[in-house]
């Protein structure tokens, strides 16, 4: 098969060497061009974000709640606190479940049919649109309770974290050499302790990485919060009441017609993106420094 595929270039005569070389140069150029064009919007977004965000960011942004339309000033303290509450709840739900499922996949299931089914379902769940998750949790929690709540928001984001955490935990555990496990079991360590104190601890840097990636991903989610957490103009930390969240507030302000709100939206976006980039960069640093070098 391979030899068959290779036949045309092998017949290269002197006449088409020239065209082949030119084609080669053109394609090389196109690939470089594509890369530049792809990097351009990123730079554009980051640059614009910095320009708009830095000028509108001030101390009030972190310490004041929004003021009514028409008044100057105000901040997003409620949204920052709200995001914190929702994300904490989400992590409480998503990380243990995800790590547990990851341990099952790596240590117990292997490539059994059950293991593959879980893996496949996790990947499919990862692709379910966030807004659909939002609707499902709305139907599951908000409709019976008859009110929006921070709890529902946390559950949505927690559920969305599960597949990412599961798959990275599994990948990281798989890189732990078998000899270490065998040594532990050979010394008479019970299987569950061997998993927790040997496998999981060896892979901990990678597992933390996976959790942070999942965290960064849901931290910017807006769509599922629209009708679960709903938003709140005042500071609230109650799980039973609607709560504000940073991405939600950015959305509301961005589509509003007021300049003052646009300014706050840019500042919020800058804060959000700095948080996310910092965590992604930290993750990359940890991965490249740690013993699990070469891990994806």
């Amino acid at each position: 098969m391979a030899a068959h595929a290779l036949r045309p270039p092998l017949r290269a005569s002197r006449v088409n060497v020239h065209t082949r070389r030119i084609t080669n140069h053109i394609v090389n150029g196109l690939a470089v061009l594509a890369t530049i064009i792809v990097i351009a919007p990123l730079i554009a977004i980051l640059f614009y974000l910095l320009k708009q965000g830095v000028t509108s960011l001030n101390w009030d942004f972190f310490t004041k709640i929004p003021v009514p339309v028409g008044e100057v000033g105000g901040g997003m303290e409620n949204a920052i606190v709200g995001s914190g509450v929702i994300l904490a709840l989400a992590s409480l739900i998503g990380i243990p479940l995800g790590i547990g499922a990851g341990i099952y996949l790596a240590e117990y299931a292997g490539t059994t049919r059950m293991g593959n089914a879980v893996r496949f379902t996790a990947d499919v769940l990862n692709g379910v649109p966030s807004i659909v998750m939002g609707i499902a949790i709305y139907a599951l929690i908000v409709l019976p309770q008859k009110h929006f709540s921070a709890f529902a928001g946390g559950v949505v984001l927690g559920v969305m974290m599960v597949p990412t955490v599961t798959r990275t935990t599994e990948e990281m555990l798989r890189m732990v050499p078998h000899a270490i496990r065998e040594a532990a079991l050979g010394l008479g360590v019970p299987a569950w302790r061997s998993v927790l104190t040997i496998s999981v601890r060896t892979a901990s840097a990678g597992i933390v990485t996976g959790c942070m990636l999942a965290f960064a991903r849901v931290a910017g989610e807006t769509a599922p919060l629209l009708f679960t957490a709903f938003g709140n103009a005042f500071k609230s930390t109650s799980l039973n009441e609607p709560i504000a969240a940073l991405p939600l507030q950015i959305f509301v302000y961005a589509v509003s017609p007021y300049d003052e709100w646009h300014r706050l939206a840019w500042a919020g976006a800058l804060v959000l993106i700095v948080l996310i980039i910092a965590s992604v960069a930290l993750v990359r640093y940890v991965v490249s420094r740690g013993t699990l070098k070469g891990a994806s």
Binding site: A2, A5, L6, P9, L10, R21, T23, N24, V27, N28, A31, L33, A34, T35, V38, I39, P41, L42, A44, I45, Y48, Q52, A101, Y104, L105, A109, A117, V118, F120, V124, L125, N126, G127, V128, P129, I131, V132, I135, A136, L143, V162, L185, G186, V189, P190, A191, W192, T197, G220, T222, A223, L226, F251, V255, H262, A265, A269, I273, V280, R284
Partner: protein, 343 residues
């Protein structure tokens, strides 16, 4: 646990699973372990616990499906399949048809694929085959960052930068040169299918390119060396040695990007114009399934309206599940048996 207490010479053949019963004569190790209690209960509990965690993933998918189906019974029974082919969207009179949204979702996603696939392939080829090593790390970090930016920030940027750019510079030129096709004519408001397509293209590009890279790196090095040794230029090496072997995985990556584009909500909602119409021109506003949910879900007061919206959500759920399942199977087929797939 203090394993050091046991002298090594006495740790005779202990099988991998510690709860297996040994028939050997009681040794020091044995009595030591017995003294610490039987671990089979703890082992069983732990295994059951992580198994439950794994089962919860099935549970989540099942619950989502169940809720969506049961809450959309009203419109499912009233409109049947016709729901997906009607163009009327009239919440006041209780007449619902999802066709404009389905059309908008399909069109914006296709547009996004058309724009982003060539670039994604270009980036993947550049990063795996051409890029000098010192540049590879920073560049792949940058493209990953593109994936980390939240949807709502893309939307914000699109409203204030992309849309003015399209409206004032790009769209007039498109109308001038390609207006005769009918795809680029009509009023030019900026908020349009085209804007949605461009934003989506930027958003799905990192997914497609990183997966393509992953697939391309699983192509064995000897393939490249073999083709080069036969006198191929670099492009021929990439085309014959790499792309041909990775093509199934690349298709999988593209489908995965499609799945992401279909479900993308916030950025699209912010730029597409949100008008439930089927228009031929890409410069006209549209509406997608995800954005109608985002906009109208919290306003849906009566049960019929709510049911119609949930049914739209159900359709979106099913479509993305099918698309993602196909893509995953394709990507798995390639990255799993990496060396075996030479033919």
């Amino acid at each position: 646990m203090q394993p050091a207490k046991i002298s090594v010479s006495e740790s005779e053949s202990v099988p991998h699973s510690s709860d297996a019963k040994l028939s050997a004569a009681p040794s020091v190790v044995r009595t030591f372990l017995r003294g610490r209690g039987n671990s089979s209960v703890a082992d069983g509990t732990f295994k059951a616990l992580v198994f439950l965690c794994a089962l919860s993933i099935f549970g989540i998918v099942f619950l989502i499906a169940y809720e969506l189906v049961s809450r959309s019974q009203l419109t499912l029974s009233k409109f049947g399949l016709g729901f997906f082919f009607h163009s009327a969207w009239d919440p006041v009179n209780g007449n619902f048809g999802a066709w404009p949204f389905i059309y908008g979702t399909l069109m914006s996603s296709l547009l996004a694929l058309l724009i982003s696939v060539p670039f994604a392939l270009g980036v993947a080829i550049f990063l795996t085959e051409m890029c000098p090593k010192w540049l590879r790390g920073p560049l792949s970090f940058l493209t990953e960052l593109l994936a980390a930016i939240p949807s709502v920030v893309y939307g914000l940027w699109a409203i204030f930068v992309l849309i003015p750019l399209l409206r004032d510079d790009v769209n007039p030129k498109l109308t001038l040169t390609l207006g005769w096709t009918g795809f680029f004519s009509g009023p030019n408001a900026g908020y349009s299918m085209l804007a949605a397509g461009v934003v989506l293209a930027i958003m799905i590009l990192p997914i497609i390119s990183s997966l393509t890279r992953e697939v391309m790196t699983t192509v064995p090095m000897v393939q490249r060396e073999g083709v080069l040794a036969l006198g191929a230029t670099r492009w021929e090496m990439i085309r014959i040695g790499v792309l041909r072997n990775a093509r199934i995985g690349i298709v999988g990556a593209i489908i995965l990007g499609l799945g992401r584009a279909l479900g993308e909500t916030m950025a699209v909602t912010m730029v597409i114009g949100n008008r439930p119409e089927v228009a031929k021109s890409f410069l006209a506003p549209g509406y997608t399934m995800a954005s109608v949910l985002a906009n109208e879900f919290s306003e849906a007061t009566d049960n019929m309206y709510l049911s119609a919206l949930i049914e739209v959500g159900l359709a979106l759920f099913l479509v993305t599940i099918v698309v993602n399942a196909c893509a995953r199977l394709l990507v798995w087929a390639v990255t799993r048996g990496a060396p075996a797939r030479v033919a």
